[in-house]
């Protein structure tokens, strides 16, 4: 099969990306973001999610949560390259919203068969946000791992590390019935659901433990592993796209500082000890960005190769983000170490993203299994 030479990123995708960029720049410039999420520096502050439900409502109305929903379920059925373009811009703005979480659920639901999954997708099309609750207390999201059990159609147990849990109307829960795991669609306000927010480093997200105490749930898939295997490339690609956007913000902001800040009668950027690492950050961003769009392209046009490329995109993104973050603080010097400087918001979001859905070494081990074969 011949792959589209433009990764499936054509005129329509450029328009969507550019309008997303404008939306975030207009509505959430970085000073406004800081005022929103970093108003209280106390590490022991209360854990209410800091976000803008009214902007989120606009995003929903723009159709951004249903880009990846098949047209048959009332969605826009756009390609993964389009979705990646949107996620990249959300990351560049470090935008606090359940966008990634909801998109992840649409990929998972689209990989399920049957009317229950279609109805769940229709809820998203109707404007609901959702988050995947499929990580156990140890932080594992391996297909078979879950601390939630299902019995007689009722869920019990706790899902950990649930992203944007305070912002969504639904959870897509992975639960085991003793044998294999299935996926279940649960309203966040259903009886027996308790959301306990985590105190996290990242200021632009919320995360929680979500407990289920005999909660009625709709099964959308009896085979969670199959749905996860199908949706995993998209989940990894979109978080990596978010990280590319954030990395580009970190690079541009640090370059601007290096162009103006003077030390020893020279602009910082004169010094190769600053210039060359910034070039390396740029290179790492570019490599990651290329892998992100290659993975996105494969999701739609070469599904056999999508997992390999998506693992590569996330591995590359995690290493890139660590390096870009580290250099953004170091090269901002003393001011970069303060709360008032904006860069810590991105530093913390990248830290969060680095670990989310597995870090670089984790994904490299998966690639080795795919390409080299299982280790003896």
């Amino acid at each position: 099969m011949e792959l589209p030479s433009n990764f499936g990123f054509g005129e329509e995708e450029v328009m969507l990306r550019d309008s997303a960029a404008k939306f975030f720049a207009d509505n959430m410039p970085v000073d406004k973001l800081h005022a929103l999420v970093a108003d209280d520096s106390d590490p022991h502050k209360d854990l209410a999610a800091k976000w803008t439900p009214e902007l989120w409502q606009q995003m929903v109305e723009l159709g951004w949560t249903m880009l990846a929903v098949p047209e048959s379920a009332g969605g826009m059925g756009m390609g993964a390259a389009a979705v990646a373009g949107l996620c990249e811009q959300a990351g560049k703005a470090a935008f606090p919203s359940p966008l990634l979480s909801t998109i992840n659920c649409t990929y998972l639901l689209a990989a399920c068969e049957g009317s229950a999954a279609t109805e769940a997708l229709e809820a998203v099309v109707g404007g609901s946000a959702a988050s995947y609750a499929g990580i156990n207390a140890a932080g594992s999201w391996e297909y078979a791992d879950t601390d939630v059990m299902v019995s007689g159609g009722k869920l019990s147990g706790t899902a950990a590390f649930v992203q944007d849990a305070q912002k969504v109307q639904y959870f897509l829960v992975k639960a085991a019935d003793g044998g294999q795991s299935g996926l279940y669609w649960v309203a966040a306000d259903a009886a027996g659901v308790t959301v306990t927010p985590d105190a996290i480093v990242d200021l632009t997200r919320d995360q929680a433990r979500v407990s289920f105490d005999g909660v009625d749930a709709v099964q959308v898939s009896a085979d969670a592993s199959a749905a996860l295997a199908a949706a995993m490339p998209a989940i990894l690609t979109m978080v990596a796209a978010d990280m590319v956007g954030a990395g580009e913000w970190q690079l541009q902001t640090t370059v601007e500082y290096a162009q103006t800040r003077k030390q020893f009668e020279r602009e910082l950027g004169f010094f190769q000890a600053v210039k060359h690492p910034l070039v390396n950050v740029m290179i790492d961003i570019d490599q990651t960005k290329s892998l992100v769009y290659a993975a996105a392209c494969a999701i739609d046009h070469d599904p056999e190769d999508a997992a390999r490329l998506a693992h590569m995109a996330k591995a590359s993104a995690s290493d890139m983000a660590g390096f870009a973050s580290s250099r953004s603080v170091q090269f901002h010097g003393g001011i970069g170490f303060t709360w008032e400087c904006y860069i810590h918001m991105y530093f913390k979001r990248q830290m969060h993203n680095q670990a989310l859905w597995g870090d670089a070494a984790y994904h490299r081990a998966r690639i080795a299994e795919l390409v080299i074969g299982a280790a003896a």
């Binding site: 590490p43 022991h44 932080g139 985590d198 810590h344 670990a355 070494a361």
Partner: protein
């Protein structure tokens, strides 16, 4: 008898015995509050007073300021401070709170101030009654220290000082500050002068101390703003225009390369940190973290990376040991000038690795009951940038090593 004790001079031997006798009977009581991990992180009056009491007792017993002359409040001994330090370390006394005073201000004042100023200031510095802070960094002068803009204008036999200092630890408790500033805008290095100035007595008047919030959300550092602070010319150290040379005395002692041995105590509050090595903490974390069905300590890739940190930690320790062996060093500053660079980058890389070991759990911060090690590692990772940036960013440290040790041309 320990190897070092065998080499004592008669004066040192007698003094060592004195230290041991005194310490046996005068260990301070258990602290009523949790102590910080270093003096620079003292946050409450309770912590401060407990530690000040200890410093005063040790000073009164002659264990602090041993090598300074009696007229400056010292004990007038010869090369005895390190004896006292060693003996205090053995019995793990608490650390000394006036760390900037003892380590930086005292030798600077001693070598550069007028006689009566020394006699006025040093006794209460040694006793810990008056805490000192350091006014070097400014918003516009980071690694390029000589570009400070805080300005002192001559007015008769007074100076009027205006400016803005940042990253001043302990300023919220300090009576005095050592202050590098500018008296001439036309010359970068020769336009600098050096003063000691009062802080606490001027608070709310010509001096404002405000906490700086770190990226971690913690406080601890301050910024200090001078608004027409008037000080007497007698508080100037050395000549007008010689501020850079005076600052070199301060920095040499900060790096442990000065003539005077800094009094240091055993750091009881610091015990946990001393006991467990940095990489020991990584191993413990890895053994308690599950990763892909086994512990992270069983993951070959993580093991390899943890051992890389162990080798760096051991190499750092052994290099410090080697730096004192004449036959095994070339340039005398080759190892000492690596010190800050290596320790800060090891701390950064080890903490970064720890957050990777933690995986998803590394997202949890201090206030989270489920955070591994109570959120220590993400916090330590962020705080490590304080060390790679402060006191001459590591990029500048590499310049210094390249230029002073390797003899390469200056990069500016």
């Amino acid at each position: 008898m320990s190897e070092s004790a065998r080499k004592d001079t008669p004066e040192q031997a007698e003094f060592r015995q004195h230290c041991r006798d005194w310490l046996k009977d005068n260990q301070p009581p258990e602290p009523p509050v949790r102590l910080p991990v270093s003096p620079l992180e003292i946050m409450t009056e309770d912590q401060l007073h407990y530690l000040q009491d200890w410093q005063k007792a040790a000073y009164d017993a002659g264990l602090i300021g041993c090598d300074y002359p009696v007229e400056c409040g010292g004990a007038g001994r010869s090369d005895c401070q390190r004896i006292a330090n060693a003996e205090m370390k053995v019995v793990k006394t608490p650390f000394l709170p006036n760390v900037i005073g003892l380590g930086m201000a005292a030798p600077t004042v001693f070598y550069h101030a007028q006689e009566e100023v020394k006699q006025q200031l040093l006794p209460k510095l040694f006793s810990g009654e008056e805490i000192w802070c350091q006014g070097f960094s400014e918003p516009g002068a980071g690694s390029d220290l000589a570009s400070v803009q805080t300005f002192a204008e001559k007015d008769g036999d007074k100076w009027i000082i205006n400016g803005h200092k940042v990253w001043t630890s302990l300023a919220h408790f300090a009576e005095w500050m050592i202050l590098l500033l500018r008296t001439d805008k036309s010359s970068k290095y020769d336009g600098l002068s050096y003063f000691v100035v009062p802080i606490r007595s001027e608070l709310g008047k010509s001096v404002t101390v405000r906490p700086l919030i770190k990226m971690t959300g913690e406080t601890g550092f301050n910024e200090v703003i001078f608004d027409n602070l008037v000080v007497d010319d007698s508080y100037r150290l050395d000549e007008v225009g010689k501020g850079w040379q005076v600052a070199m005395t301060t920095l040499a002692h900060e790096r442990g390369a000065g003539q005077m041995v800094t009094p240091s105590s055993g750091g009881r509050g610091d015990e946990d940190k001393q006991k467990a090595s940095l990489t020991g903490g990584l191993v413990e974390l890895a053994q308690n973290t599950t990763r892909a069905g086994k512990t992270a300590a069983d993951d070959a890739v993580l093991r390899d990376r943890i051992v890389q940190m162990m080798i760096r930690e051991e190499g750092f320790k052994q290099s410090n040991r080697r730096s004192r062996v004449q036959g095994l060093i070339d340039h005398p500053m080759r190892i000492p000038l690596q010190n800050k660079l290596l320790s800060s980058e090891l701390m950064q890389d080890a903490a970064g690795l720890a957050t990777e070991i933690e995986g998803a759990q590394g997202s949890l911060y201090m206030a989270d009951p489920n955070a591994p090690a109570a959120g220590h590692w993400p916090l330590a990772y962020m705080n490590s940038f304080g060390f790679t940036i402060a006191a001459g960013a590591n990029e500048v440290q590499r310049n210094i090593l390249g230029e002073r040790v390797l003899g390469l041309p200056k990069s500016k």
